[in-house]
Subunit: 277 residues, 2 copies
């Protein structure tokens, strides 16, 4: 599949659009894939969401997101994640992105252990539904409050007990660009056939006051998309490339302009390294 | 040396005090060590600073800081770092903390390579002066603008070509607490006799709008000081423990109160794990 055809709009990038609007905007822009968030799906209902996406000829590159497995209430976490697995299956995507949760107290090791235990309970359900649990390492700035998985290396270690079809990892440039072991991590993930999703957005300098919304359009920050994309390509990944941007300025911009800019930056900064070599 | 005697006041924790005031406050509080920043030293002049510290019976646990080796102007970086080495020698500390600098463009690999090249030029000068270059891994949130060394593992890799007396690493809880390879990194640093400094402060949730000043007093955040201190102790480190806090609220508090709180939290949260086992 050509690089052009692999670009996917994550619905967070055009946050103010409903799912219907995002789907129609993506299709009108010539995109072939979309990565919906669950709240946008829930607003229209799962069945309508699925119909909307497929009637517009789009693939679902991934579903964002399940996870939050580190809290004290195991039952609530399992119930919600089983529902997310069902939603992914209904939407026809194999990849359910998991943001695993932070440290509710001061015991990081115990929080990571709860991820291990709860993955064990979720994997069979995911496999039964043909869905892969895609562990997303988040930037260490989010370790306390969002994800105790901070590196591809740790995500792979947690995935190791399971087959590649059951547990994968997400490579998101914003979260992993700083990692001294990035090249090894991506290569290992590729070798194990565990790259569930490749997501791109930039690291802005200076950061926004809230790091959560400090993600920028490719080219607006310090990330070398050519270098990281080449690692992902060399690792054998041939799936969709999602653009997922949390940024107040982007959210305030006309979504059609955002999508145009996204396409242009993708063409200039990402696509050449997806096919070169 | 008892745990009590190893507590050191980094002058940044009592930012508003001059060096003389900080030295006198530390001595009055019964501390035996201080970790000065170079700007506080420069204000009174190097010779007076040295006399002040030693007349008050304090050790200098480390000098903060040299570094910023990743810019394009190599000469300026080398000149400033040679001066910092001389200052450390005059102050009678073996440990010069280096914050190595960020990414001035989009080429992280090249920035790291400049650290390698410039270390090579600085090490002989440091060794001649009996000073160790203490590489400080900073939290990855600072990779773009302050330090391209984000893990103890990378710091050790950069230190590897040199003897342990020439290049060490700093273990600062705020910067490394999230690292899935923390235990291995601290153990390896200890085995190589490369732990230059152990610095403690907490990771606050939520963060301050500027991550630079989001460091908290031990006990105010999510870090498990018992667990990390036990790793440092098991690694054989028997040097001073510096408290270095960047925090607007701490800076606005009466410095004597800050020092009292620091002593109490150190006694409760850090000291027991320095001696147990």
């Amino acid at each position: 599949m050509s690089a052009e055809r692999r670009l996917s709009l994550n619905t967070m990038t055009t946050k103010r659009l409903t799912l219907r609007e995002a789907v129609e905007a993506a299709a009108a822009a010539g995109l072939e894939a979309i990565g919906p968030w669950r709240d946008r799906v829930a607003e229209v209902g799962l069945d309508i969401a699925s119909k909307l996406v497929h009637d517009n000829g789009l693939r679902v590159s991934s579903l964002c997101r399940g996870g939050f497995l580190t809290g004290y209430d195991e039952d609530a976490a399992l119930v919600d994640n089983r529902r997310a697995i069902e939603e992914a299956a209904t939407l026809g995507t194999r990849e359910l992105v998991l943001v695993v949760g932070g440290v509710p107290d001061r015991d990081l090791a115990a929080a990571r252990q709860r991820v291990v235990q709860r993955l064990e309970k979720l994997v069979p359900y995911a496999v039964d539904h043909g869905v892969r649990l895609a562990l997303e390492p988040l930037h260490p700035v989010f370790c306390a409050d969002r994800a105790v998985i901070s590196t591809i290396g740790l995500a792979l270690a947690l995935a190791a007990p399971y087959p590649a079809e059951a547990v994968g990892v997400v490579v998101d440039t914003f979260h992993v660009w700083w990692d001294p072991q990035l090249a090894e991590g991506i290569a290992a993930a590729g070798e194990q056939d565990r790259i569930s999703s490749y997501q791109v957005c930039d690291w802005l300098v200076p950061m926004a006051a809230d790091p959560l919304v400090s993600r920028g359009m490719m080219g607006d920050g310090v990330i070398d998309f050519g270098a990281i994309t080449a690692m992902v390509r060399a690792a054998g990944y041939d799936g969709d490339v999602e653009v997922e941007i949390f940024n107040e300025e982007v959210w305030a911009t006309d979504p059609d302009v955002v999508i145009d800019t996204m396409k242009q930056r993708y063409r200039d900064l990402v696509a050449p390294s997806l096919t070169a070599g």
